[in-house]
Symmetry: C3
Subunit: 478 residues, 3 copies
């Protein structure tokens, strides 16, 4: 007999008999609030074209590097997961079809015990696809058939899913050289769903980016500016930021290796930029250019009011062979230690006291939380703390974020939750997890008489709904 999926209505809430009821009361008040998703990586073509998805493997596994990563770590090869290599001298092993790959995923589903992915998937299986048996090798085909069939129905088309999920606002992320064509379709459609873009200029800012040279050329074509001169290059950014704002963007996003910023004179900038575009980089130039560009982006944000997000600390594509064969986003990005106190100072010396500017900081290095991030955000008017991110977007990770930031930065220098996902189906499950953990943390404060339940309820609503709207400057939709 197959086992029943563990998706208890009180899951993730504290066990203590004096805290769980408080947590549950708080959670019940925020559970059904609309989803604000101001930072993520879903594909805008889904909503623009509104085509049905095909099968659970292509929908749930292939695009989710959290899943690929774990399977790969245990010796499952990417070809076995149905993923094709593209490099020279690539592996010649046969590539599984979706059903065979799904069976392999099902067989290894026990690897996700104790992980957030396991909890999200169980919630998707039960709440979205009405499954009740645990996914195993035995139930794999039943799952594949049932979900594939459901996905063909009208109500499982992307816009219908979006509406059913009660998403009020969803931001995708596009490169500075993206055509934004899907966002144009969305803007011109009669669908009411609010799907906007985010300005992510890494490929034209990072001289070490694999596509930097091509992107810089394209950046000039798209904007009609001379992107090989410092002033033209800056103007191209201004133009494109305006294009993105026209497609609803309220923020920019910057995924640098470190949080370093710089404040060079205009002459130094011109010289540095000429080395960058000529490819004659001195050691440290690439890092310095990225650093200076964060300050330039902040300066532009003061003009056009885009909120700035800094997502530093990932060693991208750490696995060289895998990147060359299979490309990025296969679960091979590894965090590294970073610091913020010295790194941000040049930018803060320029604009730190300006409360018109809004910069949201993220980290993959949790040691930053109590040591630097909470003190920085608890002082500078322009700084806010983004939520627990990526590897830390998990029950323990979200709890550590609150425990390590609240006492210094309070709740009101944080910005609510980001799902940051390319896995569309997981969005409600991720927001639900965050709401449950925030309510659990608040309920403990209530139980320890550190907060009244009335205050906790207000904070829970603010963290879920009001703060993300305010932090990302999202206007009411009416």
């Amino acid at each position: 007999m197959a086992l029943t999926i563990n998706n208890h209505p009180e899951r993730l809430l504290p066990v203590d008999p004096n805290i769980r009821p408080v947590a549950l009361r708080l959670y019940q008040e925020v559970r059904d609030l609309p989803i604000i998703s101001p930072h993520g990586h879903t594909d805008p073509s889904w909503f623009a074209e509104n085509q049905n998805f095909t099968n659970p493997h292509d929908l749930l596994v292939t695009p989710d590097h959290y899943l690929i990563r774990m399977l790969y770590s245990q010796g499952v090869r990417l070809a076995e997961l149905g993923i094709k290599a593209k490099g020279i001298g690539r592996p010649t092993e046969p590539v599984n079809d979706s059903r065979s790959a799904w069976r392999l995923f099902a067989k290894n589903y026990f690897l996700f015990r104790g992980t957030p992915s396991g909890i999200w998937l169980n919630q998707i299986f039960t709440d979205v696809f009405n499954q009740s048996e645990v996914l195993t090798e035995v139930t794999a085909d039943k799952y594949f058939d049932s979900i594939s069939e459901q996905l063909q129905q009208e109500e499982f088309r992307p816009r219908q899913i979006f509406d059913r999920f009660n998403i009020e606002f969803l931001a995708t992320t596009e490169s500075a050289v993206d055509s934004l064509k899907y966002h144009k379709i969305l803007r011109d459609s009669d669908w009411n769903g609010r799907v906007v873009t985010t300005y992510r200029p890494d490929s034209v800012i990072d001289p070490e980016h694999a596509r930097f040279t091509d992107s810089l050329a394209l950046f000039g074509e798209i904007t009609g500016e001379n992107t090989y001169s410092w002033q033209g290059y800056l103007q191209a950014h201004r133009n494109r930021r305006a294009d993105f704002i026209a497609m609803g963007a309220t923020s920019t996003d910057h995924g640098h290796a470190t949080a370093r910023t710089a404040n060079l004179s205009n002459i130094e900038c011109e010289k540095l930029f000429s080395r960058v575009v000529s490819g004659q980089l001195a050691p440290g130039d690439a890092e310095l250019f990225r650093a200076q560009m964060l300050t330039e982006m902040a300066r532009m944000s003061l003009d056009d009011k885009l909120v700035m997000q800094i997502h530093p600390g990932s060693f991208r594509n750490h696995n060289t062979w895998l990147f060359e064969q299979y490309g990025g986003d296969k679960g091979a990005d590894i965090p590294q230690p970073i610091e913020f106190s010295s790194a941000l100072k040049p930018l803060l010396d320029c604009f730190g006291n300006n409360s018109e500017l809004s910069i949201i900081l993220f980290t993959l290095d949790e040691t930053n939380y109590a040591r630097e991030l909470a003190p920085l955000a608890g002082h500078y008017p322009c700084l806010r703390l983004g939520p627990a991110w990526w590897f830390n977007d998990s029950p323990e990770g979200i709890l550590r974020f609150r425990e390590q930031t609240t006492e210094t930065a309070g709740f009101y220098n944080t910005v609510g939750f980001n799902d940051d996902t390319r896995a569309l189906l997981s969005i409600p499950a991720r927001h639900d997890m965050s709401r449950r953990i925030d309510c659990s943390y608040l309920a403990r404060l209530v139980g320890e008489h550190r907060l009244t339940e009335d205050d906790a309820l207000q904070v829970a609503k603010d963290l879920t709904y009001n703060l993300p709207k305010k932090a990302y400057r999202i206007e009411d939709n009416d």
Copy 2:
């Protein structure tokens, strides 16, 4: 109807029904023990002159950078808080009077939800000033009037407050060039309150200190030594340490950017010092001089028995504009990552095995607790661990300190609590929080059968009273 302040008698104790009673029993045994406050920043003139305070804003808000910091981070300007700028080209906006500033503080009081400041203030409001309604915009004036009136009474004069708070020992902190005049008044007075000084020579040790040049000259004047020669400079320290000891000091304090120490030959010291006094510093010289001076201070401590405190890791006055306009201690000091294992080795190679020496280590970088500090203090006879400090002097912060140090360093290599505050009224609230959290930690160990309740009670008393007296070499007052 105004809400009632949340100041529950069992606040901060664990919720678990099997742990709270144990925690409460432990807490009740230490709650009323006298306060030992061996490290802090209250103003000795308060006790010397014993003048009444004026109003709640000037007493509670203006001197407390924990409060200013949070308000500033949310866009409240310092002029709105009644704080005057003094820099060139300073903001010309009107500066609020105390009542208006207090109203603004009251309006933003919700920002302190979940913070230790919120808990301390609520305890001050109820226990010291007998308020019962939550501070809000609505109750702001009532608070202002009531507290202002009480502050004019005899029993609210500083010495009377000190006595009422059951403080047995209070150390202030004075610069090496301080006249100690208030401490002389205290020494010669007939008041029994024990208020002593602490030797803090940063301004004559740190070549990068804003007042270094002036302080070094004054240091020579006060001591009658030639503070521009290495030997005279060292002798000036010895003289002043003796002056401080005469005013009751039992310890020194060193607020360096890092924990680095050095062990140079005498000739190297002479050369380094001549570069320091001539202002001809090579890169790294300032850091090296601070490092060498920690070793010199340790050497002097072996002679005069002053306990040495090292408080490293703060990037002081991180906000350049704010410092230039408003000066220090406005909530703009930001922690930075530091390490101890390599940094302390030169000093420890000299004196590490001497149990006559006592060095108390603090950090703002909690990653040091389990990794370096507990192992160091759990080995070297001269080392002890100071309590969770500054940003970490909070319920979660104190708990993390115990959880991350006890298993390696035990309880007896720690030194009890320091309030480290310039906010006089908060002293009992801060000690009370620490006692509650230590008892909570101990109660969990009892509940998990890791410690008997008898042992826990002995440890609770030691942490509260016996260890700070022993660690700071405080003699019984009789």
Copy 3:
């Protein structure tokens, strides 16, 4: 009346009335499973010669640097503990005999309140030596006499203890130049106990090791290779690895200061090695050579299938004076901050995608857990995470390990427990503590509906027994 030892059967389990019963059910299922001890430092001569131990001090205190460390930190001198100095100009104070030293240990036993050593010792006293009174100055002699007498009995000989402890597999650690004579005796004996060796080549790999020069010469003698040529040196490693495999070794172990690896060309290796053997090291050469040798060891592991363990991050013999007088392993090794993302990349670029290779990573810097180690082990097929190590092998430390690694790496990229001890009697107590804490963690996940109890039970058995056997490639013994 003497107090009774606190050794409650439900010790270390969570207090919560809804979690403890789950934890207890899980624990009862794994409590009596055989002990797999794949990494430790017991002395193989004990089992080879099977001589009785003499008294509790020489058995329990003298070889245990966890105990020496704490006593020393509180001013107890090593001579007082019965430990002789051997350096030049050594202390001339009288050295205590074992009974006097034991009395001093007993008098200071309160220092171990709240430490894992205290819990292990209490369990040894009750379960192995049938004591019931707390060890104090008063009971010291009674303990000494009772334990000394028991130690003379047949059932307290090392092999009998081993069998009674239900140890299925025990690995000791020997240097690359060890004769392995005790392991040969064990191999040739008729005793069934499985005691194997581990290849630890630090003294012939680390040019800064105190015995490097001598060891390198001996390495050549033992292997018959020219260990002053790069190829001969590598061949000597291959030979000795084969010798160790013949004595049952399934793994190697590497205790470098950092996790740095390198991937030099053969010509660069030859040049570096010639600088190493000539003693003409350029700055950074020693570190680079250690780094390259980790990659060489990985390459050899692909051939001979030895599992590789990397134990970085300890600043060995931090206390120079103590090391010179008393030698190593006296509690004076201090952790330091390290990183893995960049450090391991050269090795991973060579072999990271090969699931035939197995590298188990350890750290003393807990900041690595969530930031780098779980992401690395959650991606690379060759990587696994060793358990909480050394200072972190404690109730809070083990719990932090699970809380900070499980959500990203899952359970199946970890390898169960290592006791890593030279304290034979503590082995069951250490494994018991780990089992209790793992079950406590799992029980909380069950209580929060993050895992079913069926799954938790399977995981508990895997962590206790199946994963260490699999990770260390231990074949069934039949």
